[in-house]
Every structure is written in C-alpha cells, then in structure tokens.
Amino acid sequence: MNLRWYHFALWAAFIGGMYLIPEIVSRGTMRTMIQACYLAMFAISWDVLSGRTGYVSFGHPFLIGIGAYATAILSKKMGLPVSLSIPLAVLITMLGGLVVLLPALRIKGSYFALVTLAYMELMYQLVQVIRPDLTGGTRGLSGIKTLTRGAENGYMLAVTLMLIVALGAWLLMRTRLGTALYAVGMNEESVRGSGLSTTRLKAVAFLVSAAIAGLAGAFWVHYNGSLAPRNLFDINFVFTIIVAALIGGAGTIVGPIIGAFFLTFLLEYLRPWLPGAERYLVYGGVALLLYMYQPHGLYQLIQHGWARLRGQKA
C-alpha cells in the first residue's frame, strides 16, 4: 500500500482539524459545514464510480435517493429502528448499484451517462406514482426521525461519517484494486488484456460507490428529517455533486472534499446578494471557468503551489 510517515501525519492533522472546528466557528457556519460534509460524501461516491472508471454517471441522485427513501420508509412507515433501517438502506442501495452496473456491461461513454440520467428521471416519476402512500408521492416525506440535536452533534456525526468514508476510500484506492480501477478508466481493453476481469472490477467500483451513496443518503435524510422528490432528483443536484468532485479534483479523495466545502460555502456566502436559484448563475460560472482552465481541480493547483514553494518545477 506504500504508506509513508507523512500520510499518517497529514491524515492526523486533517482529522484533528475537522474535530477542532466546532470550537472556533459559529452555529450557522457549522450547519453549512454539515451540508458540506454530506455533499463531500456524495462527491466521493460519484468519484469512486466516475472519476476512476470513467463511467460518467449523470444519475447519482438515483442511488442517493434509493438510500434516502429506503431508510425513510423503513423507519417511518414500517416502524423499524434506525439502527436497522440504515444498514438495510445501504444494502438496498447496493442492489440499486447493480442495476446501474447492468448497462455499464455493454455501453460506455455518452450512452452510459444518458442511461443514468434516464434512471434518475424514471425514479423521480415512479416515486410519485407507485405506492404514494409509502413514498409520500409528489410531496415527499417529512417527520423522519432525526438522529442528533443541535448543530454541534450533527456536525460530529457528519464529520465522523465523512472521515470514515474518505479514509476507507483512500485506503481502498491505494491497494492494487484501486490501481486496477484507474486502469479501467484509462484503457479498458488493455486491462482485460492483462488478464483481469473488468466486469468484476466494475462491479466492485459500482458496489462501493452505491454503498457510500446509500450510507450518506440515509444519514442525510435522518439529519434533515424530510425529503422531497423534486429537490432530490433534480438536475441541479446532479450538477452540484459532479462539480464538487471536478472542481476539487477528480480521481483523488481529498479533492471532492475540498470541492464540496468550496461549493457549499460559495453558495452560502452568495445568499445575502442572490437569495434564490439565481445563485447558480455565479456558482455555475465559477465552476465552468475553473473546469475549463483547471480541469484537474483545486487539488492539483494546491499541489503545484506546494511544489513551487519547495523550489521544484511545477
């Protein structure tokens, strides 16, 4: 796995820093950070699937939605305890991941992106029509049990989850499996040529991505206490997830986290000037410029800056 001492040092500093933040910032900022943590998990989940294997998913809310709806329905309508409904939701989402894997066995590129978009739209319409007594139809569900009270506890939970997910994904990507997943993204044929089963590799990537999406989606619903299909299966949500991963730096773990925090705070600081959906104008403009001129994201920008500081050629 090729771990060095500075890996441990950086992770320890990062984890310590995240846990010290409640001592410094206000409640309002902490609420923003909670959303940023969840967005970071969604972005990591997207990145495990799309940033590595190159199968760009435009329907990630499909997976997040399965996790969110599963735990909401299980705990609210079926009366299961949350400690049971969340693990079940993760398992159900992993099944959903297999559904997304199905087209990836035959098609790739633009076609795959479209199928995932269609999955999201299908889910959006089905949720409103099939058993509205369970899913809450167009209005969605509210009054879902929340796990924490107060901004501080919510932050601790969100940050712990995010750190577990990030560290887990980081370790996984440093194994030979992670290297193979990268290779699938670069050239699938040559991976197959080296005697590896790309089907199995893709299955792993999709399952891991779905598990993270399900976990984050489920806890997110139990933090918010409600869910509405129009906000969940929304093109703006897809956009936010993808842009978070890309702005930060696709194919890394820290990148999506940086991107998620950057975007959430950008969106939040724009609120006084532009209260409504117009914020996405500035937000999208920033994203587009960054994406066009720095396609590898902020993470690489930081790395180059660091290299310059140490006197190396960037």
Binding site: G109, Y111, L114, A118, G285, P295
Partner: protein, 283 residues
C-alpha cells in the same frame, strides 16, 4: 380513436423537430450536447419577450428565437466545445454546467414563476370531438416543413453533404477539402435554431418555466438513441413512436406518461446500443 391519432401526430411533430436539432450535433460533432435543452428554454423565453413583452408580431418572435438560438449554438461551439474537443466526458460535463448557468440566467431575468404563452395562432378547430388548437396545428405543420427542408438540405446541397461527410469521418472529410470547423459551426447554428424554435412550440404546447428543458431534452435523447445515431428517418419514426406512446399511455393513466418513455430508452440502450435504425455505436 381519431382523437388519439390527431393528438399523437401533433405531439410527434413537435418531438421530431426537437430531436432533429439534437441528432445533428450528435452525428456531426460527435458530441453529447446536454445544453441542448437550454436552446429550448432560450427560444421559448425570447419568443415570450419579443411577442408578449414588447408586443411585436408573433412571427417576428419565432424568427428571433431561431436567430438567438443559432447565435447561441455558434457561440457555444466557439467558446466551449472547441476548447474541450476530443474529451467526450469533458464536453458532456461542460455543457451540463452551461445548461444550469443558462437556466439560472433565465430565472434572474424573468423570475421563477411559470408563464403562459398566448397561442401563436388563436382559435380551436373541432374534429370528431377532439379539440385541436390552431396553434398546435401550425406548430406541427411548421415542424414538418422544417424537417422536410432539412432533409433536402442535408441530402442535396454541397454543405449538407459535407455535413454528412464530417459525421462519417472527420479525417476523410478533411482530405477531401472540407473545413470541418466551418461545417461544425454551421451544424451548431442550425441545431441551435431548431432547438429554439422547437422550444417556442413546446412552450406554447405546455408552459414556459425555467426547468422546462429537462423533460424534452431526455425525450430528444431518447428519440435520437432509439432511432439510431445519424439516421434522420429513424429519428422521425421513433419521434412518432414515442409521441403516440405518450398519448396512448396518458389516455389510460396520465401519471405514467413519462415512465414508459424512460423504460424504452433504458431497454433499447442496454439491449441494442446502436438503436433500432442506427448504423454504428458511438463511444
């Protein structure tokens, strides 16, 4: 029965024109242009601004929508797509971001609430118990006229044949002395104009609101993919297939209207990625 037939024909004409603009880009530029939906949005709002806020003639509104759409298309090609050329996922993501930006620009200018377009041509004709607004009839007839014109343009003119050549292979086209950049620009312009005019019709068929572009975009994609890339005839046939399917399903259960369309896309893409009438797959 007659009602279904008439309504199906009207809706299908609309879908055909929207899908046609999309398939042009997909086959010539080899690019999945997710911002295509934004042309519909901009066309609809341009028409609304010109003919309902400025009070100019409606025809001028449609024309202006087409011009603005074409301009947008060329601009997008020059500023965005050419820079990201070669990386498909980059273009897809770039155009998706652009679509969201344009949508919020529309919200900033016109507000979030939905607008109702006055019919392009007022009046209703009754045929066998089915009410047909003249407006929809005109939209369908215009769509057909544009489609037929486009067919002959692509088949008969030098520029049209050059477009076909670029869609078959950019390198071969370049060897035969075709300037691929110019052809691409023309294609993006035509596609933008078609999308914007389709947007005017679509908005007068339903309503004008900032997120109206997502559903027709997915339908356009569905039509193009199920029909097969680069097949104008396939696009026409499948536009009618989906149009009629939606009308029939919605007489049975209006809520399930979109579900079958999505299932059709997913099913065809998984089972037959080259589409029903397509000649190849695009990666």
């Amino acid at each position: 029965m007659l009602q279904i037939l008439i309504q199906g024909l009207l809706l299908s004409g609309l879908y055909a024109i929207i899908a046609m603009g999309f398939t042009l880009i997909f086959s010539v530029g080899r690019v999945l242009n997710l911002a295509y939906g934004a042309y519909l949005l901009i066309g609809g709002y341009t028409y609304f601004y010109i003919s309902q806020q400025l009070g100019l003639p409606k025809f001028a509104g449609v024309l202006m929508a087409g011009i603005v759409g074409a301009f947008m298309g060329v601009l997008k090609y020059q500023l965005l797509v050419r820079r990201l050329q070669g990386v498909h996922s980059a273009v897809e993501i770039g155009t998706l971001i652009l679509a969201v930006v344009l949508q919020s620009a529309v919200i900033l200018i016109f507000g979030d609430s939905s607008k109702i377009l006055l019919p392009i041509v007022p009046g209703v004709e009754r045929v066998a118990g089915a009410a047909i607004p003249y407006s929809n009839l005109v939209a369908a007839i215009l769509s057909w006229a544009i489609l037929i014109g486009l067919y002959f343009f692509v088949r008969m003119t030098h520029t049209g044949r050059a477009m076909q050549a670029v869609s078959m292979g950019a390198k071969g086209a370049a060897i035969s002395g075709i300037d691929a950049t110019r052809i691409n620009m023309i294609t993006w312009g035509i596609s933008g104009a078609l999308g914007a005019i389709g947007g005017v019709f679509f908005a007068s068929y339903t309503q004008l609101y900032p997120s109206m572009w997502v559903a027709p975009l997915i339908i356009a994609v569905a039509v193009v993919i199920v029909g097969g890339i680069g097949s104008i005839l396939g696009t026409l046939i499948v536009a009618h297939l989906i149009g009629f399917m939606e009308i029939i399903v919605s007489t049975w259960n209006p809520e399930l209207r979109g579900v079958f369309t999505m299932l059709l896309i997913i099913g065809v893409l998984i089972l037959r990625p080259q589409g029903l009438f397509g000649r190849e797959e695009i990666h």
